[in-house]
Symmetry: C2
Subunit: 494 residues, 2 copies
């Protein structure tokens, strides 16, 4: 039986004449809230509309509109000749939880119910590059030298004249024109031709790794991983439930023989043969061949992160493992984050033919690639030769900055740290000469207004001597000396 609302409806409403939200909207929202919170119960009859109009100060026409809206939404119902009621079909609301929906107010609560992946993500940091770009921030290209004017030109050229090619869903594996340009680039500059159909475009390098490990390994399967190694990639694989098989790294790169002896049954080897991060070493040819042989013999896969192969200062980059793989075991991963700029968020995989269909499907399901517009602009940028000449210029610039870093560093850091600039990449290592904790020293460096990462943060299980990772590529040549002097001061203060 319908219950007449006792007394006026206004106690449930808090109308604010000064608010930007119009009054009718306030009434509508607050009536809805009153119903949801159980203040107005299912089956309750509302006062006659004449009375309501008076109470809330709306015209009859406006009030009718409010009531009609709430009827359309299912909160109210009209009964022929009997008036307007809170819908009888609505369930009784459950008790309101103790805390409000505001991030500022989240009290200490038990963690929410998550999956295993969710639980690990909750505790796992994905923070890379979230730092203020202070001098010596590692992995930072000279983004102020990026030829944005040319990029704009490319953007204008692909979007001119109302072209709508960029508007449709686009190709599952990435736009064909971009895949062609990447294949051409790899053929000429990496000396490793492939069919554009073997390429899948991904939203950045990590998305490429995610695709590969999801398609090739099951949770609990082993993945070879160099220790030390890139910590966010470790976090990615660990979070997705894989077993990380830590391998040693020496001057010739990953200890392949040791790994093959300890983890013969792993599904996948993640390796950075061009330039190991953060140690800067290159994987030797015999080890590359041994790695290929292990993969062939064990029906395993190699995920080749061709990290920083674009930036080598002592000659041509070494050929990729993929280019000498005659058994189709290598999944080659590239990214434009450092060759162009990190915000571009475009990565790609070059796949053995037998994996193409699987990877295209999985990529289409889990992320469906990159804005088509970005892909077309990038294709134009590569096709117009701007990419190759930007790389050439940056290679020259970074070589110059590297020399300046070494020269100034030798003087400034004498007795404090030994500088180790490998022949490639954007970063250097400063090995601390005494046994001080690199994490603690880093704090002093930060306080001096400079950046660096402690090597310890990249170390999973095998302790290494203390070292700091510094990015020199983003620092102007003429600033090298004063910044390194400031760095030395921070070190000697520690």
């Amino acid at each position: 039986m319908a219950k007449q609302l006792e007394g006026p409806i206004l106690p449930f409403l808090r109308l604010d004449a000064a608010a930007a939200v119009p009054k009718f909207r306030q009434v509508q929202d607050q009536l809805r809230q009153a119903i949801l919170k159980g203040h107005l119960r299912p089956g309750t009859r509302l006062p006659a509309s004449r009375i309501l109009c008076e109470e809330v100060g709306l015209s009859r026409q406006t009030l009718v509109r409010v009531l009609e809206n709430l009827k359309a939404e299912g909160y109210l119902e009209a009964r022929q000749g009997a008036g307007t009621f809170v819908s009888a079909a609505l369930p009784r609301p459950a008790a309101i939880p103790r805390w409000q929906k505001s991030l500022a107010n989240v009290p200490d609560m038990p963690p929410p119910r998550l999956s295993r992946i969710g639980d690990l993500s909750r505790q796992m940091s994905a923070d890379i590059g979230q730092f203020e770009p202070m001098p010596f921030l590692p992995n930072r290209p000279a983004i102020d030298r990026f030829p944005f004017a040319l990029w704009r030109k490319c953007w204008n050229s692909v979007t001119r004249g109302g072209k709508v090619a960029a508007l449709g869903y686009g190709d599952l594996g990435g736009e064909l024109i971009l895949r062609q340009r990447i294949a051409e680039y790899l053929a000429v500059h990496r000396h490793d031709p492939c069919d554009p159909e073997q390429i899948v475009i991904t939203p950045g390098g990590h998305a490429a790794f995610t695709l590969a490990v999801l398609a090739l390994a099951d949770p609990g399967d082993g993945i070879w991983f160099e220790d030390p190694g890139p910590v966010t990639t470790y976090n990615l694989f660990h979070t997705l439930g894989f077993r990380l098989c830590l391998t040693d790294v020496d001057g010739d790169g990953m200890d392949v023989a040791g790994a093959a002896a300890r983890y013969p049954g792993a599904r996948l080897a993640f390796v950075m043969p061009s330039r190991h991060h953060p140690l800067g070493v290159t994987l030797s040819l015999p080890r590359r061949l041994a790695l290929l042989e292990w993969a062939r013999a064990n029906d395993a896969w190699i995920l080749e992160d061709d990290y920083d192969s674009e930036f080598r200062y002592d000659g041509a980059p070494l050929p990729s493992i993929r280019s000498i793989d005659s058994h189709d075991r290598v999944i080659y991963a590239g990214s434009f984050s450092k060759a162009l700029y990190p915000g571009v968020r475009v990565g790609y995989l070059v796949l053995p033919p037998q994996l193409v269909g699987t990877f295209r499907n999985l990529s289409g399901l889990i992320n469906r690639s990159v804005p088509v517009e970005t892909q077309l602009v990038l294709a134009e940028f590569i096709g117009g030769g701007h990419f190759a000449s930007h790389l050439r210029r940056m290679r020259g610039l970074y070589a110059e900055r590297r020399e300046a870093f070494i020269d100034a560093g030798k003087v400034a850091l004498a007795g404090l740290a030994n500088i180790d600039c490998s022949e490639s990449g954007l970063n250097a290592l400063a090995w601390l000469t005494d046994g001080r904790d690199d994490r603690a020293v880093r704090q002093d460096v930060l306080e001096a207004g400079l950046q660096c990462y402690p090597l310890s943060d990249y170390t999973v299980a095998t302790p290494r001597p203390s070292a700091l990772i510094l990015g020199y590529a983003g620092v102007p040549t003429e600033r090298m000396r004063p910044y390194l002097a400031r760095f030395a001061e921070a070190l000697s203060r520690s």
Copy 2:
């Protein structure tokens, strides 16, 4: 003991004077290949460089460069006073596989060794929207009406003057300015305010779903899923290893009571309350509240795909489930694929506060968001009011096209099909009046140069009467009559 190469080296080389690749490069590549293939074995001594120069027709200086490069790569080694050798440390190559690295030549082979996810992906199609945009292609907005000139203006404005904000790694959860604009849009147009910190930007809608299910459910966990429902989303969840708990759909949307009785222990409900795809129904308010109550009582989650809420022709869109969720059980998913254009590839999630950290971390690990440039342009487009006015214009346009579709369809399809245009979205259903197989009929429609999807493709287990899904929003009003006449002809031919 080193073995002298017997006879000339030229038999291993195939030099081509007419090739674009310079001769020294040909020599270098082919020597490398000869070593990798075992034609030149580890420890073999090369002929004296004087003889080599003559044989291959290179100057001594160029030949020395080739040999130096191959030494640097590890293929050759010099022994003091004894000449140049194929590196003794190289392992013997394994037999070359029978088939070559060309996609055209992949023979029938046993499938490669993949993960469970990989195996499912191999067999699972992700093809949506890969079709020629023929008339009536479902889910197709009027992309020719997209105000690309304004988009260009926004692009120019955010990239003008060498701004480099777009160049860095950007925020883990997406650029703050875009999250603010989305929060404002949701507050004003979806009437559902949230803190920008609750938003995570993803590379499209599917990436948003992937993030949510990975964080909230373990493989084997149940996910409520409407049958019929969006087939690629089904494929996504199935491929990732979840157990799909199929629920009925009637005129009030998902059968929540039935699902709660059959699958009380599911971890997650995937639901499209604003407009079910493909049936076009809206989830009723009592069922929304029942769904919230189920989630609260079972510590489960609701993944609300706010599909097509932007396009409603009979009044304001219904409030989202999120907006009436007082227990923080709803993960709200939105996308710009249809509101702007599919190629933009930007989606987002609005999260309960207790999930924000987890989702930011996981998103950072698996894909790290969207090109920063695209995010800034989109923020500018929304902030400049262009998004709201584009939606308003499209709502008017689609309403007009819907009317035209209904009017012309009633006449043209009389006796062949009953048209069912819900009050929202971009698509209509044509229920075939006799029992013909909708997949077969679709073939005739395709041959007539028109598009449509058979409802059967969206049906997992529960058979439905035959129907075709047609997209009317992308078809100009004046073309509705002739295209529908052609469609009718195809139907009567079947």
